[in-house]
């Protein structure tokens, strides 16, 4: 696989896409948010400095999900009234894109999933149950969140958000679902909670004194 390359229209730095399906990336040097068009890269915005972050995961962290290796290529950072969390965009070695969410060191891996008749945000309440792919999910928390920034490569354009609502659903068996109301059309992600040790993460950040 050849890695598509281009130059940052803002500062001229070389932009390398690690994942061929990436739609958006952030220039590592000038923090311009770049969106791929058919011919070149277009600057659509600028990332403000991201707040100090406690996640041990970073861009280029490698890991293992089941029998598939993955590498972290991007992230979206959110804040809510009880703190912040990261949605790390990871690329599995079979080419699929997945999300490793890290909320205060609680890790879950999920994939974008298609489902019919997803509920509108106003119709959802805690305790409500949904069944997707023969699995029953219970709404555990509805989080009004605030988009805080992006980094690296993403599979879609995501940069002009403000307030977004997330609905987390849990099961009795460790499976997990998120309804993402960032866009007018809700998006469903299905996945499961994963143990830190099971991810066999490499290339993590180091913390002073640890």
């Amino acid at each position: 696989m050849t890695q598509p390359a281009a130059n940052c229209p803002n500062c001229g730095a070389k932009i390398v896409f690690r994942w061929s399906s990436s739609v958006q990336t952030v220039c590592e040097f000038c923090k311009s948010i770049l969106v791929r068009t058919d011919v070149d890269l277009k600057k659509v915005g600028q990332v403000a400095d991201l707040p100090p972050d406690s996640s041990p995961v970073q861009i280029n962290t490698e890991g293992q999900y089941g029998n598939k290796a993955f590498v972290v290529v991007g992230r979206i950072l959110y804040e809510y009234d009880q703190g912040g969390w990261n949605e790390w965009h990871v690329m599995l070695n079979d080419g699929t894109s997945a999300w490793l969410s890290d909320a205060q060191s609680e890790y879950a891996l999920s994939l974008s999933s298609k489902a019919q008749n997803l509920p509108a945000v106003a119709q959802v309440h805690v305790g409500q149950q949904f069944t997707w792919r023969d699995q029953r999910y219970t709404v555990s928390v509805i989080t009004p969140a605030h988009y805080r920034g992006v980094e690296g490569e993403l599979p879609f354009q995501y940069w002009d958000k403000t307030d977004v609502t997330f609905v987390d659903l849990r099961t009795e068996c460790g499976k997990f679902a998120t309804l993402d109301y960032s866009d007018p059309e809700p998006a469903l992600y299905l996945g499961e909670f994963v143990e830190f040790d099971a991810l066999k993460l490499k290339n993590l950040r180091s913390f002073e004194g640890w």
Binding site: M1, Q3, K14, V16, R18, E28, F29, L50, P51, P52, D53, S54, P56, Q58, I59, N60, E62, V71, D81, Q82, G83, N93, Q104, S105, E106, V126, T138, S140, V141, R170, T171, E172, C173, G174, F193, F196, L204, R205, S206, F207, E208, G209, W210
Partner: protein, 444 residues
């Protein structure tokens, strides 16, 4: 695939942050690299916004006592489940049940990779706690978590009345939550309801000594008081299993008894009635029986004596003598029977018959030498002597039975008293206790 990735211009290595309290100026260390939501000043007890660059004051609380001190100081590192954790926060919580306030303590533990865990301590009992990743299924009386059944123990309101250090949530003094505990020793499953949000956590019992070792603390941990809700029973034996094993042994013993009883010949070799006359008994009274043969192998010999005494005694000095070798077994048997009336009614004492078994008598020709003695007031009596060869002996089975029964009974009793102590502190006290207490919320 990711080879040749460009160099990172990532943020600098996170460090523990040193700041000052905006209220009193005391030094404040943020140990959790931004995971904390709130941090409490150790000197003026202001609750500060840990996310705020200037540590905005969120709440201030007064402490009524100065002796609330964490047993594990903030900043102490220890090893739990093979992971290093640092104590970053401490809170005291209280709960009022039947007018009595109970206090317990919670420690927030932090590892930058593994995240947050908790330790709780109540009266010297410790629990290693983490937030549930799976959703338990609960009804009023039990909860199912990862396929295991937890029994409802207690529901109570928990107040937070003292906080220190960092918390990964917005902590406030005076806040109260509804806490429900379900137990499956050594684990406890707890739901904590604050406003609309329900948080489930799973705890595992730890002994003070284990905590002291994990955090290398000086001195000795506080002695645990009483039995805690999820404390593992000291009776590690499976009580039901012990009874099953005991029953199996008892059946085996019974089978042995039946087997030996069926194999025993129970052969009568002598049956004689002799007369005793006091008038004749001056001088030598002993006499010998007819000779009888004990055939076959070395076995038991039973000698039975019957005398129709009434408020008298008769004493027989026996000797079983081998005619061929002269070997003798001497033994004395008393037969006495007394009865009468007194203020309590009728009474009776003793028996008119007696039996004794002589073990391991070799085969051969034998006779009995008998020397009777009797109550001086007894003029004469007829008594019967019966000798049986090869009788089964059951006494040893009784001893074996009791020797097996005793430990099972002791184990059962210990298990029972421990569980009783455990549940007497719950919303579902054992019967006798719930009858005594005025209020009872038993829904079992």
């Amino acid at each position: 695939m990711s080879a040749g990735a460009p160099p990172l211009s990532g943020p600098a290595k996170p460090q523990a942050k040193a700041l000052n309290c905006p209220k009193c100026g005391a030094a404040i260390t943020l140990r959790s690299f931004g995971q904390a939501e709130t941090v409490v000043c150790g000197s003026c007890h202001s609750i500060l916004d840990a996310k705020d660059r200037n540590l905005a004051i969120l709440q201030q609380f007064e402490i009524k006592t100065s002796d609330i001190r964490p047993l594990i100081p903030l900043g102490t590192r220890g090893k739990l489940r093979d992971t290093d954790y640092e104590v970053i926060g401490f809170e005291r919580r209280s709960s009022k049940v039947d007018g009595i306030t109970y206090y317990w303590h919670e420690y927030v533990l932090f590892n930058p990779y593994k995240g947050i865990r908790y330790l709780s301590e109540y009266n010297g009992h410790w629990n290693d706690i983490s937030i549930c990743k799976q959703l338990p299924m609960a009804d009023g009386s039990s909860a199912n978590y990862l396929g295991e059944i937890y029994k409802h123990f207690q529901t109570s309101d928990a107040d937070t009345d003292f906080v220190l250090g960092e918390f990964p949530w917005q902590v406030r003094v005076g806040e109260h939550a509804a806490v429900t505990d379900y137990v499956h020793p050594p684990r406890v499953l707890s739901s904590e309801k604050l406003d609309k949000e329900v948080t489930w956590s799973i705890g595992e019992y730890m002994y003070g000594g284990e905590v002291w070792e994990a955090f290398r603390l000086p001195g000795a941990p506080p002695e645990p008081v009483g039995v805690f809700e999820n404390q593992p029973s000291p009776v590690t034996t499976n009580v039901a299993g012990a009874w099953v094993a005991f029953t199996a042994f008892a059946v085996f013993l019974l089978a042995l008894m039946v087997g030996f009883d069926m194999r025993a010949k129970k052969e009568p070799v002598l049956h004689e009635t002799y007369q005793y006359h006091r008038a004749e008994s001056r001088g030598e009274t002993s006499f010998v029986s007819d000779v009888f043969e004990l055939a076959g192998h070395t076995s038991t010999v039973e000698v039975k004596t019957f005398a129709p005494v009434s408020n008298h005694w008769i004493y027989l000095n026996y000797a079983l003598i081998n005619q061929d070798t002269g070997q003798a077994w001497d033994f004395g048997r008393e037969v006495s029977y007394y009865s009468g009336y007194d203020s309590d009614g009728s009474w009776a004492e003793g028996k008119r018959n007696d039996a004794v078994v002589i073990p391991s008598v070799p085969p051969g020709h034998y006779y009995l030498r008998i020397e009777p003695e009797a109550d001086p007031s007894l003029p004469s009596i007829a008594y019967t002597v019966e000798v049986t060869h090869d009788v089964p002996v059951f006494g040893i089975y009784g001893i074996a039975f009791l020797a097996l029964l005793a430990p099972v009974v002791i184990i059962s009793f210990r298990a029972y008293t421990f569980e009783r102590s455990r549940w007497s502190e719950s919303d579902h006290p054992p019967m006798e206790l719930s009858n005594m207490s005025s209020s009872s919320g038993d829904d079992a």
